[in-house]
Structures are given as structure tokens and as C-alpha cells.
Symmetry: C2
Subunit: 630 residues, 2 copies
């Protein structure tokens, strides 16, 4: 039953409150939301990534090392990580589709290439081997050598848990052993990478192998960080979280993906070593990040310049950076926080990021992607830059996001349910089956379009079934075998304690009225605006649904009007409400007094944010000015 573990597997000794249900224990129904998403990932995103590894030159870079090809190194100096992330995705996918021979062949071939490209001492990095071998380990603030190695290790961890690619596991262990040799001893030079990521990978490798030096090295890296050991270069020490020790940090700072990957490693080390101080630091930084530096979509990162968090409440909708990888990292960090603590707020933020920022990054066919995920695409936007295109692109010169999506979605069923001594916890709802040693739960639901979740539960005896009542849900009701039960969530979960051996059907109804959302008044960027949300989904207004000639920025919404569901092709639940078009009156950029402008009524339509840009590229906004503000 536990043959194929998924990502993040605390050891039995870990202080984690919860343990994930194994990948083998969760299966999404093909017609559910997650089931469709995984299918699209398997047939669209993942094959596209495999193909792009050839097109982009990522595999050829490695073949430069082995001598199979000649030429120049191509694209980013950390492009090996695209290969590793795709391998990780493939490994997870093979747990669901073990018969996919093409995918298996890709894993075997790529692992063989990596083995050939690896140095005798275990070193593996095509850029530093081909372009500047003399700089190995010499510019860790910049080189991404450990970051890339971390993705190699994570691919190997996935391969080991999936029971494929034994050669890949051997390669990663040789690399990890080299890291321990070079940077693990008390007198070793401080080996920390400008881009975190290897820390969590080392803990996961420890979990797979039981080899304690990997965990010790990860912990050492965390404790060395924040002492200004790295060259801060252009963006300063905070950019790479080397400005303050993580145990003392009060605020998230710098490059968002780096910060969040680091925090994933922090939680992993904390639970495996019982380090409450580390976990407290993670809680503190979480409060900061989600208290004043997170978009309504769960996206994070307000600044394009250094892909960084902004000041508190600096959350511009149009210049939201919201890197896809950051949203993925947020899912990973929140999942670790949830496992460590059992607290539902982490599941709430995981869900927010997953259904909005992460889901919105990918096109309906799974082969085009946003790297940045703004909440407002302006009329007249110049989309010529890769950092802020007007529509999803098939690949990027820095291609971190697409294979990152592939690995997350291929293992998504590993992020939905957990167990503890009391029983089973269901955190995310999708049609499908959850099986643990003690229980089987068959779920029928049209979530997130509908808040009704029906669960057929059987078990070998008494246990507590904990069903998450999302933070967005103000009114939940439940039946067990048709009999109402009081819904008094404890810690965000409806906890049903009973003997399930006879089987029972639980019906959970999470009321999903449309919510008219406002932001904290210090979020200046969206003052006088509201956003529409329903269930876990944030909505947006797209140019595609406006009458010809209407400028999106002139649209207003009546915040007091009723919002109704409406039908649109390919949009299961769209929304419609009363709005207006208010032309600017005159062209003056600054005025004294208010120019006359006659508001024209408008029937306003909103679609789920994650579906934006699939019908036509064009202006879009999540936050809509109200008719009462002007």
C-alpha cells in the first residue's frame, strides 16, 4: 500500500503532525477537476516539456559534456534543471501510468546521459563543465550548481519512490555524496547556493536513503545562511536571503522563489530534527508573507526588477510578478507547514494558490504558460517582453516554470489527503478515491464548481474522518447517511469520529455564494475596487466579454448588485452582474474638479481567473473599480 510514496515523506521519527497518503492510495476520477488536470498534464504539458528539452538545447548541453554533440552551450546556465524537473515529473507520472513506455524510455535515456555526463567524482553540471570548469564551486552566489543538483536529487527521490530509473538514483547519490564531502565537514568551506532548493532535496534524499549526512548538510546550509557569506552582487544580500539568519528573520524578502524554496527546506529540517525554533521562524515568515505580501490569487512577488516580494501591502495588480514557480513553491511550502502542524490555514493558502495562480499559468491545452501572473493586463499593454507577455508562451529562455508545473501536477494526488493517529484528513476535494491502511473513501463532487462533496467511507474500525472546511466557506452543512450532523469545525476541519466499518456516506455542503471581496485598505493599488470570488476560485473580467469599443479600464461594478451564475462556452460557472461604463470625461491626466461623464449601464461578465486568456489575448482585470468610487 505504501510502495509509491509521493513528494514530502517525513520519516517516522519526524515531528510532523500529519503524514501524506501514498500516491498509490489516491486516484482522481478521470472526469473530476484534478483528474482532468492530471490527464492534460500527462498528454499535454509533460510531452511538451520532453520535446522542449531537445528544442531548447537542454539535453544537448549535457551531450556537450559526453562528446555526443559539438557546439555552444545554450540558454540559461542552470538549464540542466529543466531536464531534472522533467525527469521528476516523468517519475511521478509513471506511478499513474506505469505502462507508458515512451516516458519510461525518456527516463532511462536521460538518466543514462546524466550518468555519462557525471564526473568521476560525482560532479554534474553541464554549464560549469563545458563553459568554465575552473570556476566550479567558486561562484556559488550565482552559479546555481547546488540548486541544479537539488533538482537532480529531487528527480532521483521521485524515481526511487516510483521504482524507476535506478541509474538516476545512483547519479544523484554520487552528487549528494560529493556535496557532503566538499561542504559537509565542520571545517569545510561554507557551501550555500545563491538559489536555495538543495536543502529540501537533501532532506528528501535522507528520507529515501536513511543516510543522515544529507540531513546534516541541509541543516548546516540553513544555519550558514544569513551571514553575508554570499556575494550580494546587483540586488543585495536579501535577494538571496543571505542578509539575516533564518532563525532570526522577521520578514520574507528578496527573490520569491528562493525565499519559498528555502522555507520548504526549513520546515523539512525542522520536523526531521525536532527543531522548534526553525519551525517558529517558518510560522513567523508565513504570517508576514500571507498577511501583507500575497495576491488574492495566491501569487507572490510584486516586483519585476528582482522577482521579489515588495514592501508590506505593495501589491500592484498590473505589475504583479507572481511567478508561476513561486506559486508552485507556495504550494510546496504550505503543504509542509500543513504536515508539520495540521493547521488548516496552510491548506487554505495551498488551495488559493493552486486553483488560481498555478492553474492560471497554463493554457487550456496544457502547452502554453505564463511565467508572470498579473491580476490586470492593461489596455495598450506592450507584451513584447518575456517577463510580461500578453498571452501564454510555449517556452521561455528561462524555462523554469513549465517543467515545474509538470512535476507538481503529476504528483498532485500526493497533496490531497493525510493520516495521523486519529484517522484520515481530506484537505482538497476532487472526485476520486483515497485508500489508507484503515480506510477507503470514494468521493463524488463537482468541486470547485459546486460545493457539494459526497464521500462513501468504509474502514476497518473507528477513526476520525477530518474534512476541511475552507476558510472561504462561511456556511457548511453535513449529513451522515442522510442524517444532519452539526458542523462545528475544529481547527478548520469537520471531524467525524465513528466506527466506519459498516460504511457510511457523508455529504458535505460547502455553501458557495459569490463573495464580493475587498482588500486591506493599505493595499493602495486596488483601493475602490472589489473582486469576485466563488468557492476557491477568483474571477476576472476579460476584454473578450465586453462590448466592442469599451475600454476595460472604464468598466465599473455595482458592489451592491446581485451576482448570478451564467453560461459561457468552456466556462462551467461564469458570473454576471450589474456594472457600468464610465468614460474618463476628458483626456487630462490630472484635473481639479470632476469632469462630467455619463455612465452607461453594462451587464458585466466575469470568468474564473485561471481560464483567462484562453479565448483571445487581451486586457483582463481581477480588481474592478466600483460604481461608488469612480
Amino acid at each position: 500500500m505504501t510502495a509509491h510514496q509521493g513528494p514530502v515523506q517525513p520519516t517516522p521519527a519526524a515531528t510532523s503532525a500529519l503524514r501524506p497518503v501514498a500516491l498509490d492510495g489516491v486516484a482522481f476520477a478521470a472526469d473530476g477537476f484534478f483528474g482532468r488536470w492530471q490527464r492534460r498534464n500527462a498528454t499535454g504539458t509533460l510531452p511538451h516539456c520532453v520535446e522542449q528539452l531537445e528544442v531548447s538545447g537542454a539535453l544537448d548541453n549535457l551531450r556537450l559534456v559526453t562528446g555526443e554533440v559539438t557546439g555552444e552551450f545554450r540558454n540559461m546556465w542552470f538549464a540542466d534543471s529543466d531536464v531534472h524537473k522533467t525527469l521528476e515529473a516523468a517519475a511521478w507520472q509513471l506511478t499513474s501510468d506505469p505502462g507508458d513506455e515512451r516516458l519510461r524510455a525518456f527516463v532511462d535515456t536521460a538518466a543514462e546521459l546524466l550518468a555519462k555526463a557525471q564526473g568521476d567524482d560525482g560532479y554534474l553540471n553541464s554549464h560549469y563543465t563545458v563553459v568554465k570548469p575552473e570556476r566550479r564551486w567558486q561562484e556559488l552566489h550565482y552559479s546555481h550548481e547546488l540548486y541544479v543538483g537539488g533538482h537532480l536529487i529531487q528527480a532521483a527521490v521521485a524515481a526511487a519512490r516510483a521504482g524507476v530509473g535506478a541509474e538516476l538514483v545512483a547519479v544523484a547519490r554520487r552528487f549528494a555524496d560529493l556535496l557532503v564531502d566538499c561542504f559537509g565537514g565542520p571545517d569545510a568551506p561554507p557551501g550555500i547556493d545563491g538559489h536555495p532548493g538543495v536543502e529540501t532535496a537533501l532532506v528528501e534524499l535522507f528520507r529515501v536513503t536513511g543516510h543522515r549526512p544529507y540531513l546534516d548538510l541541509a541543516r548546516r546550509m540553513l544555519d550558514l545562511r544569513g551571514q553575508g557569506l554570499l556575494d550580494g552582487e546587483r540586488f543585495g544580500s536579501a535577494y538571496l536571503q543571505d542578509h539575516v539568519p533564518v532563525r532570526r528573520a522577521e520578514e520574507v524578502a528578496g527573490h520569491v522563489v528562493r525565499q519559498l524554496y528555502l522555507l520548504a527546506g526549513v520546515v523539512d529540517v525542522a520536523v526531521e530534527t525536532g527543531d522548534e525554533e526553525l519551525l517558529d521562524a517558518a510560522r513567523r515568515l508565513w504570517d508576514d508573507a500571507f498577511g501583507s505580501k500575497t495576491y488574492l490569487t495566491g501569487a507572490q512577488g510584486s516586483r519585476h526588477r528582482d522577482e521579489a516580494f515588495g514592501d508590506p501591502y505593495e501589491l500592484p495588480a498590473d505589475r504583479a510578478y507572481g511567478e508561476t514557480c513561486a506559486a508552485i513553491a507556495s504550494v510546496q511550502w504550505n503543504w509542509r507547514m500543513l504536515l508539520a502542524t495540521g493547521e488548516s490555514r496552510y491548506a487554505d493558502e495551498l488551495e488559493r494558490a493552486l486553483y488560481n495562480a498555478v492553474a492560471g499559468s497554463t493554457s487550456a491545452d496544457g502547452t502554453r504558460f505564463f511565467y508572470s501572473n498579473p491580476l490586470h493586463l492593461r489596455t495598450g499593454h506592450d507584451g513584447s517582453h518575456e517577463d510580461a507577455p500578453s498571452q501564454r508562451l510555449p517556452w521561455y529562455s528561462c524555462a523554469c516554470c513549465p517543467p515545474n508545473l509538470a512535476r507538481l501536477v503529476a504528483s498532485l494526488h500526493g497533496y490531497t489527503a493525510t493520516t495521523d493517529d486519529t484517522g484520515v484528513q481530506v484537505h482538497l476535494y476532487s472526485a476520486g478515491t483515497v485508500r489508507t491502511e484503515a480506510a477507503e473513501i470514494v468521493t463524488r463532487t463537482n468541486y470547485p464548481w459546486d460545493g457539494r462533496v459526497e464521500l462513501d467511507v468504509t474502514g476497518s474500525g473507528p477513526f476520525t474522518l477530518a474534512l476541511r472546511v475552507p476558510g472561504w466557506c462561511a456556511e457548511a452543512s453535513a449529513l451522515v447517511d442522510g442524517v444532519p450532523v452539526d458542523v462545528v469545525p475544529e481547527g478548520g476541519y469537520l471531524r467525524l469520529r465513528r466506527d466506519w466499518s459498516g460504511g457510511a456516506t457523508v455529504t458535505l455542503d460547502l455553501a458557495m455564494p459569490v463573495r464580493v471581496v475587498t482588500a486591506h485598505p493599505r493595499v493602495d493599488a486596488v483601493r475602490g475596487c472589489v473582486a469576485l470570488a466563488r468557492g476557491p476560485l477568483v474571477y476576472c473580467v476579460e476584454q473578450a466579454d465586453l462590448p466592442a469599443g469599451v475600454v476595460l479600464e472604464d468598466v465599473r461594478i455595482d458592489p451592491a448588485a446581485a451576482v448570478e451564475p451564467t453560461d459561457l462556452p468552456d466556462v462551467p460557472v461564469a458570473l454576471t452582474t450589474r456594472g457600468a461604463v464610465v468614460p474618463p470625461g476628458d483626456d487630462a491626466l490630472y484635473r481639479t474638479g470632476t469632469p462630467d461623464s455619463a455612465a452607461a449601464p453594462l451587464r458585466l461578465t466575469a470568468v474564473p481567473y485561471f481560464l483567462w486568456g484562453n479565448r483571445s489575448p487581451g486586457p483582463m482585470r481581477v480588481w474592478i473599480p466600483t460604481t461608488t468610487t469612480g
Copy 2:
């Protein structure tokens, strides 16, 4: 009378509508606003720049070439331009203070150093000579070689007009002749610089020397631009205005300083060659820039990432880049547009930028500077990056702004008055004297603190005295020798046609009620906010004037309340009005429904934006949310 011409001197053949009054013809009174500013520049900013040329290594970089010192090249690869700009400032200053021997010695010594560092062929660039001689002219998209040379030429133009530094003029001519040799012929390779600036310099050198090939080369550079000849590298062709020919451009784009320097050259070439198409392009781009891409302070540049304009109406107050050099360039471009056309709107924007963005960049003592000029510094702002510090800094690793300020302010009297066939035009008011061949005007005023301007006018006969009625002024009145005259501005100017040979006193009263300003409703960033302005000055609220414990972002203003002048130390006219503090109610970043929050009344104080940050570093905002918005 015209011995010392100032910056921008159209030739007699130029199609300019107006001609600047010579530097010798304008003297600011020592106790007027501009007089004090120039004095501070002469005693504070300029000596500070001269000193920093040594401290920063900019002069030592040139001494590396001559062999006077050994070591490494320091700071930016275009740091020679810091020397050139300081030389230009010194030359202008010497027209006002010809007896300043230390300054004269600086000019002579630096000019001698430049002459020694110059190659036999005329090439002069310490970085390329010392660090990568083999790359000379090989990477013009990046090298700034022509940009740096442009500042050398502008220094020489100033020196020539000031009658100092003959050696400097010779150096610059040798460099310019080399440019003509290398890039001037019809079969020459396309020599255009990723950073414009040399174009306007070449036209000015043509004006000084009458040597037509300089003008022809400038025109050639303009026409070669926009064909994608330059490597767009990281930020794309639009970043360096190489994405579309300037004659066809519809929108300002890319790096703001580059765009504006280019447009200064466009106007210069247009008027010297009678090229209406070029001038029309400049008009079109002006409409775009000032119609949707300019801050209330006259600052331009919405993006830190690439120091660039944003999309239309993308004008975030907190992340305003508003580079000081861009505001200086705006003054320079608007002055050229004003000369070319005689239209007052250009003077209006020149004044806006000068009194707010430019003036605000410099500390009260003249030795600390902002590089970026935001309109909102947030509570909790991380000011550790040079691109967005919390207070003015004495110097920058990219030190373009301080010496740029020095050269503008030292020549500021060259930007105030003009002549044409009909008479004299006064565009900017400050206590002092304007003398032309036909007229003498002695001005008494406390502008910008007070709108009364008294002018004693004498002349050799009849002419038209044109007095600008600023665009911000809704109500102007005037007396001539105590007798009211109708103020019916023609094209933005009160035009008084009479025989002035007997002398007369004109009293112009520009009413200066406080204006409560709103922005175009498509400027999402300041929705629900107003700003206070009075005369040409924009005001702001600073933490220094708030009661202890009040968070600036919780402050509201009653837009309907009266605004009164009030006294503050070192602030000639502060403002006070009714406001409130509205605590956020709860900490939730996103909410449904409005949390209870009890507004507490607050007497709100605002100070001129240009004075912010002089009392204590701390939060500041120009745009203040209203009590009616929340």
C-alpha cells in the same frame, strides 16, 4: 550682450520660434528661489561633485590611461561622463562666478587630463582604452562610447560659450571629428549608441562651430535608429528606442532617459534642418508621454526593472521610478519644444518637472540626492537598495544624476526667457533681471510661494512683453503702472504690446488657491485619492508631521474641507486641512464585508514635495486617500 550663450542655441537659420536670452542677460537675485538654488548648487552640489570625481575613481580611470596611476578601472563603464558633466556644470558656473579660481583650476586640470588621455586619433574613453581596447566601437548597443562622447562634447560646448577651457573644446572636436570619420560617410557602418545623447551634443557643437558635418551626422544617427541595428539584449529593442524609426513612432517607450535625450536631439535636428516631419514626431510622442505616462510631479518612468515608461496610465506612486536624470531630460526636451514652437504647454511641463521632480531630488544642503523619485514611500519600506533608498544618498554607483543636476542648475538662468521678432517672453518667474538688446526687465517676486510678480520694464522702443500664465492658474490679473489690463492669454501668455521706452511696472497676479487634484480614472494606482497642489508646487504628507503611532497608510483626507496655509520651520508655505485616521479594522489581507473601523479626526499637514525627507527619513505620500473612499 551675447558673449556667453547658454545651453541650446539655435542658429539664425533654424526654424525655432523663440531664441533664448543669453546667460549674461539673465541674473537671478540672490534671495529669490532660483537664486538660492543656484547658490546652493555653486557652493554645495558642484564642489561635492568635483570631490566625488576623485573619491569615486572617475578621474583615476582617466589617469589609468595616461599612466599617472595604476590599478583597476572603477565603477560604471561610462563613468567618464561624470567627469564631463561636472566639467559642463563648471563651465556654466564660471559664467556667473568668473573669479572662482578653484573651479577654473578644476576645468583646466581636468581638460589637460582628458587631452592626455585622448588617443592620437581622437578616441577618448577610459573604460574601453583600459579594459577592452579590442572592443572599441564593437558593442555600441551597450558601450555608451558615443553617449560618453556626447557629454564630452556638451562640456566643450559649455566651455566654448563660457569662454573657458580652450583645450577641452579642442579635445571634443577631435573626438567629434573621429565620429564623423568613422560613422559619417554614406558607406560608413551605422554608428548609433544604445544610449542616445550624442545627437543633441553634435547639433550644439555644430551651433558653436558652424561645422555642418556634425549636424549631418546627428541627423544620420536619428534616421538609422529604429531599424533594429542594435542588439536588444536583455530588455529588447524598445529599451533603446531601436524598435521603430522615430519618424513613425506613436508612443514613447523603453528607458526613459534614453527616450528623452533622443527626443532632445530630434528637436535640435528638426529646427536646424527645417524638418517638419521630425518635429511632428516629437509632438506626437510628447502627447503620449504627457497624456498618460507622466507623474503629477513631472517625473517619468514607472518601472524599476528597465528604468522604463510603463503602459498608458501605469503610474504607481510607490514604485514610481522617476529617475532624476529623466526629469532633467524632460526639462531639456520641453525647453527645446518651447523654443521650436513657442507653445506654453511645454513651459508648463518644464515648470512642473523643475519645481517638483528635479527640485525634490536634492537635499536642502545640496549634497545628497535621490536617483529615483517615488510619490509614496511606504511604512516598512526596505530602503537597502540604491534604486529605492529611504533617503537621499551622497553618491551612487551609477552617478549620472548628481552632476546632471549640477549642470542644469548652473545654467538654469538660460531656461527662463526668450526673444523673437515681436519682443521678449518670460517663461519662468524668479526675482532678478533679464536684459536683451531691446529691453531690461527687473523682476520682484516670491514665486513659487506667492503668485504676485512685479516687473519693471524698460526698453528702447515698442515690443511685446509676453508673460506666461501657467496652465495651473485659473485666475490671473495684471496692472501696468497700476492700471488694470485685461488678462486674456494668447497661447498661454499675457501679451503686452506697447512702447516701453519710458519704462513701466507690470504687476501680474497669478492666483494660487490650493488645488485638490485628481488623476485620470484610468490611473488605477491612485483611485480614490487626491493630491494637493498650489501654484507649480505639488504637496505631500510626511510621517514627520503625523502624531506618533499613526501609520501613514491609515491617513485620509477630507476632499471637501478647506485647505489653509500654515507655518512650519524651513517650509515657507505648508498646508493644513481636515483629515482622519482610519485603522484597518482587522488584519485580514482580503475580506468580504467591511470591518468596523472608527475614524479618528486628524489635522493633516502637507509640505511641498520637493522638500520631503529633509527633516527625517520616513514614509511620505503625495496621493492621499479620501475620507469618502475608505
